[in-house]
Amino acid sequence: MQPLQQHQGIIATMNRANVDTDAIMPKQYLKSIRKYGYGDWLFDDWRYLDPGDVDIDTSQRRLNPEFELNQPAVAGASILLTQDNFGCGSSREHAVWGLRDFGFRVILSPGFADIFFNNCFNNGILAIVLPQDVINQLFALTEAQPGLPCIVDLQQQTLQCSSLEFSFEIEPARRERLLQGLDAIEVTLGKQEAINRFENHHRQQFPWLFEAL
């Protein structure tokens, strides 16, 4: 996983609440068995005027000029500012792979859906929960200046945007993992002994859970 300590980038906005993972990565792209290469399909139904599929060349498709991320001012954006409950619905990690491959490293929202939130951190995306009034201020700033740059510092847990600075909080374990780009499985495998001990005890207590399927 790519570590993230400090990140500087342009903010793209999506002023919508309850954006679901079906919208972020439509079903037809879940057929792919790859883990990379989802960026062109991000928000596919909203982003293009004509339908797409895994075997359709996206460069030949017409872009929807109204769609937020197609605005020239936010080209190359790597920070996404959104409304509440972002990433709700399906657990598909493909949604996060799409955001990552598109180039997003940070997502700012008043709230995220649980499974999506975990998926972000497992793929090196920093999902930051901010109070609604901070989100509103950021929307106001970006409306006044589309393509506004922003500096996110995970070490300090601060966000700097024009002359304003906001602080945020990330659970220490998640923060550490992202700062160092640690592989979660590797970390857990370091606890084999504790797992073995627990498993033996669990097996004695609940033997029926250990019958093979």
Partner: protein, 474 residues
């Protein structure tokens, strides 16, 4: 100390806890399907890791499989990329020694139908699946949650998950459900009350006499949609109804082991006076048949209501959301819900693709014909076992005579990953769980309803109160 059911499940699975509240949680059961597993297995192969307990994993194929011409097996796929995903799962299961109900297995079906049906879902366990509707299995007093693909790999490799303990929410539903009102109406109503993100960060326990009197299949319908309010999981305490359902299921314990398990399962309830972080009370007797009018499951109303006016909403984000939803659904404020014409009916999914659901539909449509304006009416059993049982009871014949198509098991038009899709602009009464934009096909419009309401819609060609139909039947 007084414990909630969730406390009991959590405490019995904590391998360790750190000082900021993170726990390493032991996972007893893992259910796997074709769409969210390939990259996880690939990760294991790339790092040379092995699944820790392959015998605790159950796999089946459901999302991509065609629901016609099943006897053709893999040659029945028109979509070769989808087919590759299905064969990839089979290869991975073979390689790692995981039990799979493949395309040709009579037990194949939707993960959340198959697990409980086979007794692979048991009370007191922790269960995960790379699918958000894993909350279904909580009906068995199990802590069951959907996870992403990285976590699928993590559970395969370590048999654990790292997480913070979610908060607890008790949804208490007392009173009697009126005649004609189903578990689906109950959960849609609850989602309307809680909102799409109302239970984010919570595990819901459903309590009260209205829950106690539900069958296991109905309880699964309720727990299934917990995720539509954002909950990590849904739970219902163990009781005689759970016990009767589980007895003699293929993977349920037998003999002495059953007795021992049963003694433990009987402790799986929330203690009197256990403390919940949040509490919501609902009067079952006030619930009407529900139907969604928008593009989120919480955009729901009783069938007697009208499409709401976005301008009447206080919150500006919500106003925008309502406007967008109504534009997509091509509905204007003030339209009566029971005047909305539909052209497609879908009966199936992990929410309502079980035997009782199909029985309900068959009872209502027996000896009648679906409306001429219906372009397609699908009944897709949730599993091969459901299909076989329904056919034993002759339900397939009743449905086919009424004009429905009787299909092979799978997710089908619930999320339209297989060839069963709504065409652009079609409007569907669906027993599934998500009415998101494009969920059932690009440009398709979904109204979520109960199986009984879907049957009524099929017969009349519009959304209608099924109780009128039931009254006419008597």
């Amino acid at each position: 100390m007084k414990k909630t059911l969730f406390d009991k499940l959590w405490d019995s699975h904590c391998v360790e806890r750190d000082t900021d509240g993170n726990a390493l949680l032991y996972i007893d059961r893992h259910i796997v399907h074709e769409v969210t597993s390939a990259q996880a297995f690939e990760g294991l192969i790339a790092t040379g890791r092995q699944p820790r307990r392959p015998e605790s994993v159950l796999a089946t194929v459901d999302h991509q499989v065609p629901t016609t011409k099943r006897t053709l097996g893999l040659s029945g796929f028109t979509d070769l990329i989808a087919r590759e995903q299905v064969t990839t799962l089979a290869q991975n299961c073979e390689r790692f020694g995981i039990r799979q109900f493949g395309l040709d297995d009579p037990r194949q079906g939707i993960v959340h139908v198959v697990g409980p049906e086979q007794g692979a879902t048991l009370p007191g366990m922790t269960l995960v699946c790379g699918d958000s509707h894993t909350s279904t299995h909580g009906a068995f007093a199990a802590y069951a949650q959907g996870i992403g693909t990285s976590e699928v790999e993590h559970v395969l490799a370590t048999q654990t998950l790292v997480q913070r303990k979610p908060k607890s929410l008790r949804v208490q539903i007392d009173g009697l459900l009126p005649l004609g009102i189903t578990a689906k109406d109950m959960i849609l109503h609850i989602i309307g009350v809680l909102g799409s993100s109302g239970a984010n960060g919570y595990v819901i326990e459903y309590c009260g006499d209205a829950i106690r009197s539900l069958s296991m299949e109905e309880r699964m319908t309720v727990c299934n949609m917990s995720i539509e309010a954002g909950a990590r999981a849904g739970l219902i305490a163990f009781d005689d109804i759970t016990e009767r359902y589980l007895c003699e299921r293929p993977f349920a314990p037998r003999g002495q082991l059953w007795q021992r398990a049963l003694a433990y399962w009987k402790t799986l309830y929330s203690d009197d006076d256990a403390v919940f972080d949040h509490h919501v009370s609902i009067d079952a007797s006030s619930i009407e048949p529900q139907v969604t009018w928008g593009t989120k499951p919480d955009q729901v109303a009783p069938i007697s209501a009208c499409v709401p006016d976005p301008e009447q909403q206080d919150d500006s984000v919500k106003r925008l959301d309502y406007r967008r939803a109504q534009e997509y659904m091509q509905l204007s404020p003030g339209i009566r819900l029971d005047e909305i014409a539909i052209d497609t009916v879908f009966i199936g999914s992990c929410t309502n693709g079980r035997l009782e659901d199909i029985q309900q539909v068959a009872t209502l449509v027996k000896g009648r014909r679906i409306a001429k304006s219906i372009r397609q009416a699908l009944v897709v059993p949730g599993s091969g076992v459901v299909k076989m049982e329904a056919e034993k009871q002759g339900l397939d014949k009743i449905l086919i005579a009424a004009g429905f198509e009787w299909r092979d098991p799978g997710c089908s038009m619930c999320n339209a990953m297989n060839p069963d899709r709504l065409p652009m602009g079609a409007r569907c009464a669906s027993t599934s769980n998500r009415n998101f934009e494009g969920r059932q096909g690009v440009g398709g419009r979904t109204h979520l309803v109960s199986p009984a309401m879907a049957a009524a819609a099929a017969l009349s060609g519009r959304l209608m109160d099924v109780r009128q139909l039931q009254a006419a039947l008597e």
